[in-house]
Amino acid sequence: MMLRTFATGIAATALAAFIGSALAESTTDEIAKYREALQDGNPAELWEARGEEMWTKPRGPKQVSFAACDLGLGAGVVKGAYAALPRYFPDAARVMDLETRLVWCMVHQQGYTEADATKTTFGNGSAHRSDLEALAAYVTSQSRGVRMNVALDEPHVHDMYRLGEKMFYYRGGTHDFACATCHGDDGKRIRLQDLPNLTKLEGAQKAYTTWPAYRVSQGEVRTFQWRLNDCFRQQRFPELEFGSDASIALTAYLAGRANGAEYNGPAIKR
Protein backbone atom coordinates (compact mmCIF):
# COMPACT_ATOMS: atom_id res chain seq x y z
CA MET A 1 0.00 0.00 0.00
CA MET A 2 2.74 2.39 0.94
CA LEU A 3 4.81 1.53 -2.10
CA ARG A 4 1.85 2.31 -4.32
CA THR A 5 1.56 5.79 -2.85
CA PHE A 6 5.27 6.21 -3.11
CA ALA A 7 5.34 5.59 -6.84
CA THR A 8 3.02 8.52 -7.51
CA GLY A 9 5.73 10.90 -6.35
CA ILE A 10 8.80 12.00 -8.19
CA ALA A 11 11.64 9.72 -9.19
CA ALA A 12 9.31 6.81 -9.74
CA THR A 13 11.84 5.24 -12.07
CA ALA A 14 14.60 5.41 -9.54
CA LEU A 15 12.26 3.86 -7.04
CA ALA A 16 11.31 1.00 -9.33
CA ALA A 17 14.87 -0.26 -9.11
CA PHE A 18 14.56 -0.33 -5.32
CA ILE A 19 11.23 -2.13 -5.17
CA GLY A 20 12.57 -5.36 -6.65
CA SER A 21 15.02 -5.87 -3.86
CA ALA A 22 12.88 -4.07 -1.30
CA LEU A 23 10.56 -6.98 -0.73
CA ALA A 24 13.41 -9.45 -0.60
CA GLU A 25 15.45 -7.49 1.92
CA SER A 26 14.17 -5.17 4.61
CA THR A 27 11.80 -2.75 2.95
CA THR A 28 12.44 0.00 5.45
CA ASP A 29 16.20 -0.21 4.87
CA GLU A 30 15.65 0.22 1.15
CA ILE A 31 13.42 3.21 1.73
CA ALA A 32 16.15 4.73 3.88
CA LYS A 33 18.60 4.28 1.01
CA TYR A 34 16.13 5.85 -1.40
CA ARG A 35 15.74 8.80 0.92
CA GLU A 36 19.48 9.17 1.16
CA ALA A 37 19.81 9.11 -2.62
CA LEU A 38 17.36 11.97 -2.90
CA GLN A 39 18.89 13.98 -0.07
CA ASP A 40 21.49 15.47 -2.41
CA GLY A 41 18.83 17.01 -4.60
CA ASN A 42 15.92 17.90 -2.36
CA PRO A 43 13.13 19.65 -4.31
CA ALA A 44 12.48 21.65 -1.10
CA GLU A 45 15.22 23.94 -2.44
CA LEU A 46 12.70 25.32 -4.93
CA TRP A 47 10.43 26.28 -2.03
CA GLU A 48 13.39 27.76 -0.14
CA ALA A 49 14.31 29.92 -3.14
CA ARG A 50 10.75 31.15 -3.59
CA GLY A 51 10.51 31.85 0.13
CA GLU A 52 13.77 33.80 0.14
CA GLU A 53 12.50 35.99 -2.68
CA MET A 54 9.27 36.62 -0.78
CA TRP A 55 11.21 37.38 2.38
CA THR A 56 13.22 40.18 0.79
CA LYS A 57 10.65 41.85 -1.47
CA PRO A 58 8.05 44.44 -0.39
CA ARG A 59 4.68 42.73 -0.06
CA GLY A 60 1.05 43.28 0.76
CA PRO A 61 -1.15 46.40 0.82
CA LYS A 62 1.51 48.27 2.82
CA GLN A 63 4.40 47.13 0.59
CA VAL A 64 6.56 46.14 3.54
CA SER A 65 9.11 43.34 3.36
CA PHE A 66 9.84 40.79 6.07
CA ALA A 67 12.90 42.86 6.99
CA ALA A 68 10.61 44.31 9.67
CA CYS A 69 9.50 40.88 10.89
CA ASP A 70 10.99 39.80 14.22
CA LEU A 71 11.12 36.02 14.54
CA GLY A 72 12.61 36.41 17.99
CA LEU A 73 16.22 37.34 17.24
CA GLY A 74 15.54 40.88 16.00
CA ALA A 75 13.81 42.45 13.00
CA GLY A 76 14.57 40.55 9.81
CA VAL A 77 16.98 38.09 11.47
CA VAL A 78 16.44 34.64 10.01
CA LYS A 79 19.66 32.82 10.84
CA GLY A 80 19.00 30.42 13.73
CA ALA A 81 15.50 31.82 14.39
CA TYR A 82 13.60 28.57 13.79
CA ALA A 83 15.75 26.59 16.21
CA ALA A 84 14.44 28.76 19.08
CA LEU A 85 10.74 28.60 18.12
CA PRO A 86 8.10 28.46 19.50
CA ARG A 87 8.79 31.42 21.75
CA TYR A 88 6.80 34.08 23.60
CA PHE A 89 6.31 37.33 21.67
CA PRO A 90 5.36 40.25 23.95
CA ASP A 91 4.05 42.31 21.00
CA ALA A 92 1.47 39.63 20.31
CA ALA A 93 1.18 38.52 23.96
CA ARG A 94 1.28 34.96 22.77
CA VAL A 95 3.55 31.96 22.32
CA MET A 96 3.96 31.51 18.56
CA ASP A 97 5.44 28.96 16.23
CA LEU A 98 7.03 29.97 12.93
CA GLU A 99 3.89 29.82 10.82
CA THR A 100 1.80 31.80 13.32
CA ARG A 101 4.52 34.43 13.55
CA LEU A 102 4.75 34.74 9.76
CA VAL A 103 0.99 35.31 9.61
CA TRP A 104 1.30 37.89 12.40
CA CYS A 105 3.92 39.83 10.42
CA MET A 106 1.81 39.63 7.27
CA VAL A 107 -1.22 41.02 9.10
CA HIS A 108 0.42 43.57 11.40
CA GLN A 109 3.21 44.79 9.16
CA GLN A 110 2.30 44.06 5.57
CA GLY A 111 -1.39 44.91 5.88
CA TYR A 112 -2.93 41.61 4.84
CA THR A 113 -6.19 40.53 6.37
CA GLU A 114 -5.99 37.40 8.52
CA ALA A 115 -8.15 35.63 5.92
CA ASP A 116 -5.81 36.57 3.06
CA ALA A 117 -2.70 35.64 5.01
CA THR A 118 -4.09 32.17 5.78
CA LYS A 119 -5.92 31.56 2.51
CA THR A 120 -3.56 28.79 1.38
CA THR A 121 -1.94 27.30 4.44
CA PHE A 122 -1.20 24.01 2.69
CA GLY A 123 -0.41 24.10 -1.03
CA ASN A 124 -2.01 21.87 -3.62
CA GLY A 125 -0.15 21.89 -6.92
CA SER A 126 1.15 24.86 -8.93
CA ALA A 127 -2.30 26.46 -9.15
CA HIS A 128 -2.62 26.61 -5.37
CA ARG A 129 0.84 27.28 -4.06
CA SER A 130 1.26 28.19 -0.41
CA ASP A 131 3.34 31.27 0.39
CA LEU A 132 3.53 30.10 3.99
CA GLU A 133 5.10 26.77 3.04
CA ALA A 134 7.68 28.57 0.86
CA LEU A 135 8.46 31.13 3.57
CA ALA A 136 8.72 28.36 6.17
CA ALA A 137 11.06 26.39 3.89
CA TYR A 138 13.34 29.42 3.57
CA VAL A 139 13.34 30.41 7.24
CA THR A 140 13.91 26.85 8.47
CA SER A 141 16.74 26.30 5.98
CA GLN A 142 18.53 29.15 7.76
CA SER A 143 18.63 27.10 10.97
CA ARG A 144 20.26 24.08 9.37
CA GLY A 145 23.14 22.97 11.59
CA VAL A 146 21.90 25.05 14.54
CA ARG A 147 21.09 23.20 17.76
CA MET A 148 17.46 23.38 18.87
CA ASN A 149 17.20 25.81 21.79
CA VAL A 150 13.58 26.45 22.70
CA ALA A 151 13.45 28.56 25.88
CA LEU A 152 11.63 26.16 28.19
CA ASP A 153 12.55 28.32 31.20
CA GLU A 154 10.36 31.11 29.85
CA PRO A 155 7.07 30.74 31.80
CA HIS A 156 4.67 31.09 28.86
CA VAL A 157 6.61 28.59 26.76
CA HIS A 158 6.92 26.28 29.73
CA ASP A 159 3.16 26.39 30.27
CA MET A 160 2.50 25.59 26.61
CA TYR A 161 5.01 22.73 26.81
CA ARG A 162 3.11 21.20 29.71
CA LEU A 163 -0.25 21.66 27.98
CA GLY A 164 1.18 20.13 24.81
CA GLU A 165 2.40 17.14 26.78
CA LYS A 166 -1.12 16.57 28.12
CA MET A 167 -2.57 16.87 24.62
CA PHE A 168 -0.07 14.34 23.31
CA TYR A 169 -1.70 11.74 25.56
CA TYR A 170 -5.31 12.91 25.04
CA ARG A 171 -7.46 10.06 23.77
CA GLY A 172 -10.61 10.84 21.90
CA GLY A 173 -12.81 10.25 18.91
CA THR A 174 -14.47 7.15 17.55
CA HIS A 175 -11.19 5.21 17.62
CA ASP A 176 -9.77 6.25 21.04
CA PHE A 177 -6.60 7.52 19.39
CA ALA A 178 -4.05 9.87 20.96
CA CYS A 179 -0.73 11.02 19.49
CA ALA A 180 0.80 8.47 21.86
CA THR A 181 -1.14 5.58 20.27
CA CYS A 182 1.24 5.59 17.29
CA HIS A 183 4.17 7.52 18.76
CA GLY A 184 4.58 6.08 22.24
CA ASP A 185 6.68 2.96 21.68
CA ASP A 186 10.02 2.01 20.19
CA GLY A 187 10.41 0.23 16.88
CA LYS A 188 6.76 0.27 15.81
CA ARG A 189 5.40 0.77 12.34
CA ILE A 190 2.02 1.39 10.74
CA ARG A 191 1.85 -0.84 7.66
CA LEU A 192 5.49 -0.41 6.50
CA GLN A 193 5.94 3.14 7.74
CA ASP A 194 8.31 3.45 10.70
CA LEU A 195 6.86 5.47 13.57
CA PRO A 196 9.11 7.67 15.69
CA ASN A 197 8.70 7.21 19.45
CA LEU A 198 8.12 10.83 20.40
CA THR A 199 8.07 10.06 24.11
CA LYS A 200 11.82 9.36 23.91
CA LEU A 201 14.17 12.30 23.43
CA GLU A 202 16.01 10.63 20.58
CA GLY A 203 12.78 9.96 18.69
CA ALA A 204 11.44 13.47 19.22
CA GLN A 205 14.74 15.00 18.17
CA LYS A 206 15.03 12.98 14.98
CA ALA A 207 11.42 13.65 14.00
CA TYR A 208 11.16 17.33 14.87
CA THR A 209 14.45 18.39 13.31
CA THR A 210 13.40 16.99 9.92
CA TRP A 211 10.26 19.10 9.48
CA PRO A 212 9.38 20.90 7.26
CA ALA A 213 9.95 18.26 4.64
CA TYR A 214 9.40 17.72 0.96
CA ARG A 215 6.81 14.93 0.82
CA VAL A 216 7.59 12.78 -2.19
CA SER A 217 4.07 11.29 -2.13
CA GLN A 218 2.52 14.76 -2.33
CA GLY A 219 5.06 16.75 -4.31
CA GLU A 220 4.82 19.50 -1.69
CA VAL A 221 6.88 20.93 1.14
CA ARG A 222 4.92 20.39 4.34
CA THR A 223 5.39 22.27 7.59
CA PHE A 224 4.98 21.09 11.17
CA GLN A 225 1.52 22.68 11.23
CA TRP A 226 0.62 20.36 8.38
CA ARG A 227 2.12 17.35 10.16
CA LEU A 228 -0.08 17.96 13.20
CA ASN A 229 -3.16 18.70 11.10
CA ASP A 230 -2.86 15.47 9.15
CA CYS A 231 -2.10 13.33 12.20
CA PHE A 232 -5.35 14.52 13.78
CA ARG A 233 -7.25 13.79 10.57
CA GLN A 234 -6.03 10.21 10.81
CA GLN A 235 -6.89 10.17 14.51
CA ARG A 236 -10.50 10.78 13.38
CA PHE A 237 -10.55 14.09 15.25
CA PRO A 238 -12.22 17.22 13.84
CA GLU A 239 -9.88 19.55 11.94
CA LEU A 240 -7.04 21.19 13.86
CA GLU A 241 -7.17 24.90 13.09
CA PHE A 242 -4.06 26.47 11.62
CA GLY A 243 -2.09 28.37 14.23
CA SER A 244 -4.48 27.37 17.01
CA ASP A 245 -3.31 27.29 20.62
CA ALA A 246 -3.35 23.49 20.68
CA SER A 247 -1.17 23.36 17.56
CA ILE A 248 1.34 25.68 19.22
CA ALA A 249 1.25 23.80 22.54
CA LEU A 250 2.00 20.50 20.80
CA THR A 251 4.73 22.15 18.74
CA ALA A 252 6.23 23.64 21.92
CA TYR A 253 6.22 20.20 23.53
CA LEU A 254 7.89 18.44 20.61
CA ALA A 255 10.29 21.27 19.72
CA GLY A 256 11.23 21.55 23.40
CA ARG A 257 11.98 17.85 23.54
CA ALA A 258 14.18 18.25 20.47
CA ASN A 259 16.36 20.76 22.35
CA GLY A 260 20.06 20.09 21.93
CA ALA A 261 19.70 18.29 18.62
CA GLU A 262 20.99 19.82 15.42
CA TYR A 263 18.23 21.12 13.19
CA ASN A 264 18.37 19.44 9.79
CA GLY A 265 15.43 20.58 7.68
CA PRO A 266 13.80 21.00 5.31
CA ALA A 267 14.25 17.28 4.82
CA ILE A 268 12.76 14.84 2.37
CA LYS A 269 10.23 12.23 3.38
CA ARG A 270 7.99 9.66 1.81
Partner: protein, 213 residues
Protein backbone atom coordinates in the same frame (compact mmCIF):
# COMPACT_ATOMS: atom_id res chain seq x y z
CA UNK B 1 12.93 16.95 29.70
CA UNK B 2 9.46 17.56 31.13
CA UNK B 3 10.57 15.97 34.38
CA UNK B 4 13.65 18.15 34.47
CA UNK B 5 11.66 21.33 34.00
CA UNK B 6 9.19 20.23 36.65
CA UNK B 7 11.96 19.48 39.15
CA UNK B 8 13.56 22.83 38.48
CA UNK B 9 10.25 24.56 39.12
CA UNK B 10 9.68 22.72 42.37
CA UNK B 11 13.19 23.59 43.52
CA UNK B 12 12.53 27.20 42.50
CA UNK B 13 9.26 27.22 44.42
CA UNK B 14 10.91 25.93 47.59
CA UNK B 15 13.64 28.52 47.35
CA UNK B 16 11.04 31.24 46.85
CA UNK B 17 9.14 30.11 49.92
CA UNK B 18 12.33 30.00 51.99
CA UNK B 19 13.40 33.42 50.74
CA UNK B 20 9.89 34.76 51.16
CA UNK B 21 10.19 36.39 47.78
CA UNK B 22 8.15 36.34 44.61
CA UNK B 23 8.84 33.32 42.50
CA UNK B 24 9.70 33.94 38.89
CA UNK B 25 9.50 31.55 36.03
CA UNK B 26 7.26 28.92 37.53
CA UNK B 27 4.97 31.13 39.60
CA UNK B 28 2.05 30.52 37.27
CA UNK B 29 2.77 26.80 36.91
CA UNK B 30 -0.53 25.32 38.05
CA UNK B 31 -1.32 22.06 39.79
CA UNK B 32 -1.64 18.94 37.66
CA UNK B 33 -5.48 18.66 37.49
CA UNK B 34 -5.61 22.24 36.27
CA UNK B 35 -3.22 21.45 33.43
CA UNK B 36 -5.44 18.52 32.44
CA UNK B 37 -8.56 20.70 32.37
CA UNK B 38 -6.86 23.56 30.57
CA UNK B 39 -5.39 21.19 27.96
CA UNK B 40 -8.86 19.77 27.29
CA UNK B 41 -10.37 23.25 27.03
CA UNK B 42 -7.58 24.41 24.73
CA UNK B 43 -8.10 21.40 22.48
CA UNK B 44 -11.80 22.14 22.21
CA UNK B 45 -11.15 25.74 21.19
CA UNK B 46 -8.52 24.71 18.62
CA UNK B 47 -10.51 22.38 16.39
CA UNK B 48 -13.42 22.91 14.03
CA UNK B 49 -16.03 20.41 12.92
CA UNK B 50 -15.40 19.16 9.41
CA UNK B 51 -17.66 16.75 7.55
CA UNK B 52 -18.49 13.74 9.66
CA UNK B 53 -15.79 14.61 12.22
CA UNK B 54 -17.94 16.67 14.58
CA UNK B 55 -16.72 18.43 17.70
CA UNK B 56 -18.18 15.84 20.05
CA UNK B 57 -15.29 13.58 19.02
CA UNK B 58 -13.24 15.59 21.51
CA UNK B 59 -15.56 14.71 24.38
CA UNK B 60 -14.00 11.87 26.35
CA UNK B 61 -15.87 8.97 27.86
CA UNK B 62 -14.65 7.68 31.23
CA UNK B 63 -12.32 5.10 29.61
CA UNK B 64 -10.67 7.72 27.41
CA UNK B 65 -10.38 10.12 30.33
CA UNK B 66 -8.73 7.57 32.63
CA UNK B 67 -6.41 6.25 29.92
CA UNK B 68 -5.29 9.80 29.10
CA UNK B 69 -4.76 10.57 32.77
CA UNK B 70 -2.55 7.53 33.35
CA UNK B 71 -0.78 7.58 29.98
CA UNK B 72 2.97 7.16 30.33
CA UNK B 73 2.51 5.89 33.91
CA UNK B 74 1.58 2.55 35.44
CA UNK B 75 -2.17 2.09 35.48
CA UNK B 76 -3.24 1.14 39.02
CA UNK B 77 -4.68 -2.39 39.10
CA UNK B 78 -7.98 -1.19 40.55
CA UNK B 79 -8.39 1.41 37.76
CA UNK B 80 -7.58 -1.20 35.13
CA UNK B 81 -10.21 -3.45 36.65
CA UNK B 82 -12.80 -0.67 36.65
CA UNK B 83 -12.13 0.07 32.98
CA UNK B 84 -12.24 -3.58 31.93
CA UNK B 85 -15.43 -4.28 33.87
CA UNK B 86 -17.25 -1.27 32.43
CA UNK B 87 -16.21 -2.16 28.89
CA UNK B 88 -17.03 -5.84 29.25
CA UNK B 89 -20.58 -4.80 30.09
CA UNK B 90 -20.97 -3.08 26.68
CA UNK B 91 -20.44 -6.21 24.59
CA UNK B 92 -23.53 -7.30 22.62
CA UNK B 93 -24.09 -10.43 20.56
CA UNK B 94 -26.12 -11.03 17.40
CA UNK B 95 -29.73 -12.09 18.03
CA UNK B 96 -29.16 -15.29 16.06
CA UNK B 97 -26.04 -16.10 18.07
CA UNK B 98 -23.95 -16.48 14.88
CA UNK B 99 -20.46 -15.05 15.51
CA UNK B 100 -18.58 -16.24 12.43
CA UNK B 101 -19.09 -14.86 8.91
CA UNK B 102 -17.08 -14.96 5.68
CA UNK B 103 -13.31 -14.70 5.98
CA UNK B 104 -12.98 -13.35 2.41
CA UNK B 105 -15.11 -10.33 3.32
CA UNK B 106 -13.17 -10.15 6.56
CA UNK B 107 -9.89 -9.88 4.65
CA UNK B 108 -11.27 -6.92 2.65
CA UNK B 109 -12.42 -5.21 5.85
CA UNK B 110 -9.02 -5.87 7.45
CA UNK B 111 -7.29 -4.23 4.47
CA UNK B 112 -9.41 -1.07 4.40
CA UNK B 113 -8.56 2.01 6.44
CA UNK B 114 -11.47 3.99 5.08
CA UNK B 115 -13.96 5.51 7.46
CA UNK B 116 -14.60 8.21 10.07
CA UNK B 117 -11.88 10.63 8.89
CA UNK B 118 -13.30 13.94 7.73
CA UNK B 119 -11.71 13.19 4.38
CA UNK B 120 -13.68 9.92 4.03
CA UNK B 121 -16.99 9.47 2.25
CA UNK B 122 -19.44 8.74 5.08
CA UNK B 123 -21.67 6.78 2.69
CA UNK B 124 -18.99 4.13 2.16
CA UNK B 125 -18.73 1.41 4.78
CA UNK B 126 -15.76 1.67 7.09
CA UNK B 127 -12.87 -0.73 7.25
CA UNK B 128 -11.18 -2.10 10.36
CA UNK B 129 -7.65 -1.39 9.08
CA UNK B 130 -6.33 -4.45 10.97
CA UNK B 131 -3.19 -4.61 8.80
CA UNK B 132 -2.17 -1.12 9.88
CA UNK B 133 -1.19 -2.65 13.24
CA UNK B 134 -1.26 -6.47 12.92
CA UNK B 135 0.18 -9.22 10.80
CA UNK B 136 -2.67 -11.51 9.68
CA UNK B 137 -2.54 -13.42 6.38
CA UNK B 138 1.13 -14.14 5.62
CA UNK B 139 0.63 -13.11 1.98
CA UNK B 140 0.27 -9.48 3.06
CA UNK B 141 3.76 -8.12 3.66
CA UNK B 142 2.65 -4.57 4.34
CA UNK B 143 1.52 -4.92 7.94
CA UNK B 144 2.16 -2.81 11.02
CA UNK B 145 3.56 -3.81 14.40
CA UNK B 146 1.65 -1.65 16.90
CA UNK B 147 -0.35 -4.77 17.82
CA UNK B 148 0.81 -8.39 18.03
CA UNK B 149 0.93 -10.72 15.03
CA UNK B 150 -2.38 -12.54 14.62
CA UNK B 151 -1.02 -15.05 12.13
CA UNK B 152 -2.23 -18.50 13.22
CA UNK B 153 -4.80 -17.02 15.65
CA UNK B 154 -7.37 -19.82 15.34
CA UNK B 155 -4.85 -22.59 14.86
CA UNK B 156 -2.90 -21.60 17.96
CA UNK B 157 -5.94 -21.13 20.20
CA UNK B 158 -7.97 -24.02 18.85
CA UNK B 159 -11.07 -23.86 16.65
CA UNK B 160 -13.43 -23.79 19.61
CA UNK B 161 -16.47 -21.83 20.76
CA UNK B 162 -14.27 -20.11 23.34
CA UNK B 163 -11.86 -18.88 20.65
CA UNK B 164 -14.72 -17.63 18.48
CA UNK B 165 -16.32 -15.81 21.40
CA UNK B 166 -13.01 -14.26 22.45
CA UNK B 167 -12.38 -13.00 18.91
CA UNK B 168 -15.86 -11.43 18.82
CA UNK B 169 -15.45 -9.84 22.25
CA UNK B 170 -11.96 -8.51 21.56
CA UNK B 171 -12.99 -6.88 18.29
CA UNK B 172 -16.19 -5.55 19.86
CA UNK B 173 -14.40 -3.95 22.78
CA UNK B 174 -10.67 -4.50 23.33
CA UNK B 175 -10.74 -2.43 26.53
CA UNK B 176 -12.67 -5.25 28.20
CA UNK B 177 -9.51 -7.37 28.22
CA UNK B 178 -6.63 -4.91 28.25
CA UNK B 179 -7.38 -1.55 29.86
CA UNK B 180 -6.04 1.33 27.76
CA UNK B 181 -5.29 -0.92 24.81
CA UNK B 182 -4.35 0.94 21.62
CA UNK B 183 -7.05 -0.96 19.74
CA UNK B 184 -10.29 0.82 18.80
CA UNK B 185 -13.56 -0.46 20.25
CA UNK B 186 -15.08 -1.52 16.93
CA UNK B 187 -18.41 -2.74 18.26
CA UNK B 188 -19.07 -0.37 21.09
CA UNK B 189 -18.28 2.66 18.93
CA UNK B 190 -20.20 1.32 15.94
CA UNK B 191 -17.15 1.46 13.69
CA UNK B 192 -18.08 -1.93 12.23
CA UNK B 193 -21.53 -3.43 11.70
CA UNK B 194 -22.52 -6.73 13.27
CA UNK B 195 -21.96 -8.52 9.95
CA UNK B 196 -18.53 -6.91 9.49
CA UNK B 197 -17.45 -8.08 12.94
CA UNK B 198 -18.59 -11.61 12.04
CA UNK B 199 -16.49 -11.45 8.88
CA UNK B 200 -13.36 -10.27 10.69
CA UNK B 201 -13.93 -12.98 13.32
CA UNK B 202 -14.01 -15.47 10.42
CA UNK B 203 -10.69 -14.16 9.13
CA UNK B 204 -9.23 -15.02 12.54
CA UNK B 205 -10.96 -18.29 13.40
CA UNK B 206 -12.06 -20.00 10.17
CA UNK B 207 -9.81 -23.04 9.56
CA UNK B 208 -9.91 -22.16 5.83
CA UNK B 209 -8.73 -18.56 6.39
CA UNK B 210 -5.19 -17.73 5.18
CA UNK B 211 -4.52 -16.58 8.76
CA UNK B 212 -4.67 -20.24 9.83
CA UNK B 213 -2.66 -21.83 7.02
Amino acid sequence: MGMKVGARCIAGALMAIVAGGVMHGCASAPAEPDVTDRAAAMLKSSFKARGQATMDRLDQDETQRLCSEYAGRTLPASTAETIEKANLATIRYPADGKLVGDWKSGEKIAQSGQGFQYSDDPKKSAGANCYACHQLAPQELSYGTIGPSLYGFGKRRGFTDATRKYAWDKIYNAEAFAACSNMPRFGQHHILTEQQIRDVVALLVDPASPVNQ
